[in-house]
Amino acid sequence: MRIALFITCFNDALFPATGKATVTLLERLGCEVRFDPGQTCCGQMHWNTGYHREAAALAARFGEVFAGADAVVTPSASCAAMVRAAYPKLGVEPPEVYELTEFLVDVLDVADVGAYFPHRVTYHPTCHSMRTLGLAGRPERLLRAVRGLELVPLPAAEECCGFGGTFAIKNSDTSVAMVADKIRHVRETAADVLCAVDNSCLAHIGGAISRLRAGVRVLHLAEILAAT
């Protein structure tokens, strides 16, 4: 199966390891991965902050870059949600886009991706993955099949971490108050690793954990699934 990888600008610059893990994982599962270097940004930040003209231009550009792709796969739930849910409002026909775990479970129909990750892990369902995409259960199903991995439930998992894109800047005090509670719950699990399917939320939670020296590692789910 031929896949057009949508890496996202955020991952391209700050979290290339997630992109590499996604490629490794998909190739291990027999997919042919292509990466079009013409891709830049899906326009999510502009759309969510109210810069709709700018978002429309970026959406149109995205549509051109990914035109004709059988399946676009991305390791970012919020960018997938942007393309799927907001593009029609911007007058752009969205390409067939899948968040990584959606693609693995719904299209490839795999649960066990052959990963080995001997750590205690907790999973935070990010808001867009849970409410816009409705991923419900797919990431957990994949995590449960990882050898050596102990999955511990996160208390109040469905509560937003406080990232919210530019909310983290515009309302930084409230954003930090929210992440303080998220970190409290993460620490209650005594997990070594917190994982999620959005590096943006993880940068927020992980950034606060790092500042506090709270001693929990944050990792994109793809990096766990690629580990052997």
Partner: protein, 478 residues
Amino acid sequence: MTPSVAGPSGRPPKFSEAARTALADTQLRRNLAAATHTIRERRAAVVDEVADWEDLRDAGAAVKDRALLRLDSALEELERSVVEAGGTVHWARDAAEANAIVTSLVRATGETEVVKVKSMATQEIGLNEALAAAGITAYETDLAELIVQLGDDWPSHILVPAIHRNRAEILALFQRAMPGVPPDLTDDPAELAAAARAYLRERFLTAKVSISGANFAIAETGTLVVLESEGNGRMCLTLPDTLISVVGIEKVLPAWRDLEVMLQLLPRSSTGERMNPYTSTWTGVTPGDGPQDFHLVLLDNGRTGALADEVGRAALRCIRCSACLNVCPVYERTGGHAYGSVYPGPIGAILTPQLRGVQSALDASLPYASTLCGACADVCPVRIDIPEILVHLRGKVVESRRHRPVPTPEMLMMRSIAWTMGDRGRYESALAQTVRWGRLLSRGGRIRRLPGLLAKWTDARDLPMPPRQSFRAWWRRR
């Protein structure tokens, strides 16, 4: 004319600033977390019992849309029905007109005191203050509204306006401000309620005029409906000679049978009860029974403007249940005062800017008072897609700022990012610069201080040092 929706007096700070103050109030945060979690869990439990809840939500949205999309004829039908039943109907374009109508109606009775049923519409227009200026004292009779009124405070929740107060604070307030309070009063909730009951009973028995709002107004029959849980509403609606109801025009329902849907949705969504304790309905005037003089004041105050907005109009479906407040992670931490309006929380963030516009710094900040997490949309009984309307209103805020002679720093940054992202070459050189500067700013593998607008990020959060090689650089070399 710009409609006025009451908020705290003076020039109110924008949301982020007011939130900072609220977040520092640890007592407030305890009170709010405890109260919102309690109601949230109760709601979830009673909603789970209803097998066809999702169908009910569809029906609730459809009923409200049916009224809103033919609001002109629905309101005329309501007027005819009310007049036929012996009531009088008044039309108010804005807060000033509504306050003038109510003031003159009270004056005509010769009374200087009125009792009030809890009502959002009268708070929205600042009716108590307008009456006070005319020498008329309004007594709030809902327990929580009484607490707010005695404390010269501001409501912070639609349904439980004193949610920011705990019982120790209420005891201190009663001892200070409630005439005739028992000297040995404790903070036992039953004792506090009994003290308020004794105080209010005198008001009920002497008042000749009462003022209410309404949860629903039935066009077909001219019936008004109030849901409450203390019986104070029932007293106000039956004992006085004159009843004045101030009702937003979006409260109209087409037919009596529509109540069947609403009376299932509202109690479970708001208080987490299967059935509402006191549901009062009245249709005009009934000779020898209840108030003999009934006035309905229909209030626009910006609603027609909201109705004209194809995306924003869904906010007018709101039945003021507060489920969105109780699940909102932002509201839970900041409380209602930060929203600077009688309508706080997610619904306030989409209603206030539509009623008041987005000109002031506060009103322009409200659509941004959300992470767009979507918890509110999950629980809304009339399926208002609050995040969608928030994003839509953010668009309006940005549009209102596009033609400023000096662009905001954010506008400059957003335009420059969009320009950069519009071209592969520009993007790739910006990517290289980001990695270079990010690495220069890093100490020990993390960035602890960022310049400019991004400094807010590093106030409390690190950023990982960008790896030397971007994803696309790795892909090229692999």
